[in-house]
């Protein structure tokens, strides 16, 4: 029998205990359903089949937008007290005194923290599938947006976990995580716009100016690039060889690299460094 990571097993057992988890899922889906209803009930909605595709794109954009907002505001809170909470409850020493390795503890906490957020994202799939009734969004675009969601969840979750590892108190970890999340999303977006404005595009087929390097670490860039009819669609880069990466793919890779760095740093800082003397 496969033995699940002990931390992951315990966290999943306690997080899903009680009515709270079901209430949150129900509430979130009800909210998304209300958004869908609001979009579809628009009195200015075009009745013709030809313009139904626009309805599909509009619905997809609104749902994706709210989903992205959920990820940005909720994901950091899922892992911000992962380590600092243990420290504050005085259970961290007991955990570190066991045979669990630092990677085990960090990954167990990360997966447990993000599992519920991923569950919320997956539960929203049926609502998103309404889009296919109208068209306008290809399955590729659908999948790419959800990949952006998952990569953003991983990035923000691992960043909050790192902050939790280096912060003594959960409250401070929560605040710092939210500030860093806003900085990473809104802050980097503003900085990137500031850096991009003076640069003009030389390509008449693609009026978007070159993307500054800072933008690649901003989850909002991946989101914007994955939207249907995105202005960033023409900013695909030839990375050499047979591969050409779309902008959202490059942003996802940047997310994964950053997330890996945050996880490695958390593992390194969790326990005292024993050096041979």
């Amino acid at each position: 029998m496969i033995r699940v990571n002990a931390v992951l097993g315990k966290e999943l057992t306690t997080r899903m205990r009680g009515w709270r988890a079901a209430a949150i899922i129900t509430g979130y889906l009800a909210f998304l359903a209300a958004v869908s209803l609001a979009v579809l009930s628009n009195p200015n909605a075009p009745p013709s089949y030809a313009e139904a595709a626009n309805m599909g794109k509009t619905l997809f954009t609104w749902l994706a937008g709210f989903q992205m907002a959920l990820i940005i505001f909720v994901t950091p809170a899922s892992t911000a007290d992962a380590i600092s909470g243990e420290r504050q409850r005085q259970t961290l020493d007991l955990l570190l005194a066991t045979r669990l390795s630092s990677p085990s503890i960090v990954l167990g906490k990360l997966v447990a923290g993000l599992a519920f957020d991923v569950l919320l994202i997956l539960c929203s799939l049926p609502l998103f599938s309404l889009v296919f009734l109208f068209g306008g969004v290809s399955p590729d675009q659908f999948v790419s947006m959800f990949v952006v969601f998952l990569a953003t969840t991983l990035l923000l979750g691992s960043m909050a976990l790192f902050i939790s590892t280096v912060t003594r108190r959960s409250g401070a970890a929560m605040v710092i995580s939210m500030l860093c999340t806003l900085g990473l999303s809104v802050g980097l977006a503003l900085l990137s716009v500031y850096l991009a404005v003076p640069t003009a595009s030389n390509n008449p087929a693609c009026p978007m100016p070159p993307i500054p390097i800072t933008a690649y670490f901003d989850p909002l860039l991946g989101f914007a690039a994955a939207l249907p009819d995105s202005a960033f669609a023409c900013s695909a880069h030839a990375s050499g060889g047979p591969f050409t990466l779309a902008l959202w793919q490059e942003q996802v890779i940047a997310d994964l690299i950053l997330a890996a760095l945050f996880i490695l740093a958390s593992v390194r800082l969790l326990r005292p460094h024993w050096s041979s003397r």
Binding site: M1, R3, A6, V7, G9, K10, T13, T14, R17, R89, Q90, T91, D93, L94, L95, L96, A97, T98, R99, L100, S101, P272, H273, W274, S275, S276, R277
Partner: protein, 340 residues
């Protein structure tokens, strides 16, 4: 009433009970640890023999908790080395953790787990197979008298029960060494008694226990060895009987005197006069019901005191060795260290 207070000195005690051929289960040499400008450990060295209950005694801020946390691999010292069962901590701390069960003085619990889930989690954390851990956990709950609480949430347990659960948690992986930091802290007398009995039982099972405490009476009763720490250094360590006899071989005797036949003050004054003439008597202190006498020497010297009192016609109600000797040792050693 005149009371005699004679100066007391100290002779060095035998430092180690372990023979040269027997490796201590726990050993530390020259440990140094600093917190900011505060030096918590200042070259501490200690040796805990196998199968012993080693009482770690010291005033607040002496470095007891820091020492235990280093031995539990939770802190890295800035200098010195430490070994557990011959394994160097710095080489393989993960392997050392398998041999150690650590119970800090303050620890939290996972409130939304039941008692059995709590132990199952730590068993999994130590890599124990589920079937084996279920059996072991049932036995542990019997040992700490929490079997009836197995399905209760941990948050509903009393403080004493949480302490016992903490002890059970230390034992899930059957460690050879237990590090207990103030295990009886906040417990009522009965609970403290039960904790002592559990620790003694663990020693009978072959485990080595290092327990830090302020309650010297309990340590004297429970421990086979004592280490006295102050300002980050070990002042003295060794078997309890050797430590207790280290003040020039002095021992304290409590004598209860009857005051019904003659007025109490006359009886006490005569007793002081008689005892003061006995060889080896260094201190006589009045108590509520008689006197406490410090006398150097062996059992014969102690028996001579009783004989002298009886021959002088002094009505002795009770005559026994005082149990507070470890306290005297501790106060004397830490005071001597303060005076340099």
């Amino acid at each position: 009433m005149t009371v005699q207070h004679l100066p007391m000195g100290a002779v060095p005690a035998t430092d180690l009970a372990a023979t040269a051929a027997e490796t201590p289960m726990l050993r530390a040499e020259g440990l140094v640890k600093t917190y900011g400008r505060t030096r918590a450990l200042n070259g501490l060295s200690l040796h805990v023999p196998r199968g012993s209950i080693y009482g770690f005694v010291g005033p607040n801020g002496a470095g007891k908790t820091t020492t235990l946390r280093i031995l539990a691999t939770l802190l890295a010292p800035e200098g010195g080395e430490a070994w557990v069962d011959g394994r160097l901590l710095t080489t393989n701390p993960a392997a050392v953790r398998s041999k150690i069960g650590f119970m800090p003085d303050f620890f939290g619990v996972y409130d939304n787990l039941t008692v059995s889930e709590y132990l199952d989690f730590y068993a999994a954390a130590y890599g124990l197979p589920a079937a084996e851990s279920r059996r072991t956990n049932a036995e542990l709950l019997e040992l700490v008298d929490l079997a009836s609480k197995r399905n209760d949430l941990v948050e509903n347990l009393s403080r004493g029960m949480k302490q016992r659960l903490g002890l059970a948690r230390c034992l899930v992986h059957n460690p050879q060494v237990l590090l207990l930091d103030e295990p009886a802290s906040g417990m009522d007398p009965r609970a403290r008694y039960e904790m002592r009995e559990i620790v003694k039982e663990l020693q009978r099972m072959g485990k080595t226990v290092l327990v830090s405490s302020h309650i010297l009476l309990e340590l004297a009763e429970m421990c086979s060895h004592i280490g006295i720490i102050q300002d980050g250094r070990l002042l003295r360590e060794g078997p309890v009987n050797v430590i207790l006899g280290s003040l020039k071989g002095a021992r304290s005797v409590r004598i209860g005197l009857m005051g019904e036949v003659v007025p109490a003050t006359d009886v006490a004054a005569r007793a002081v006069e008689v005892l003061g003439r006995q060889p080896g008597v260094s201190d006589i202190v009045p108590t509520e019901d008689g006197l406490e006498v410090t006398v150097a020497g062996d059992d014969a010297a102690t028996a001579a005191l009783l004989r002298a009192l009886v021959e002088a016609g002094i009505p002795v109600l009770h005559f026994a060795r005082a149990a507070s000797s470890l306290e005297e040792i501790f106060m004397h050693l830490t005071e001597s260290d303060d005076q340099g």
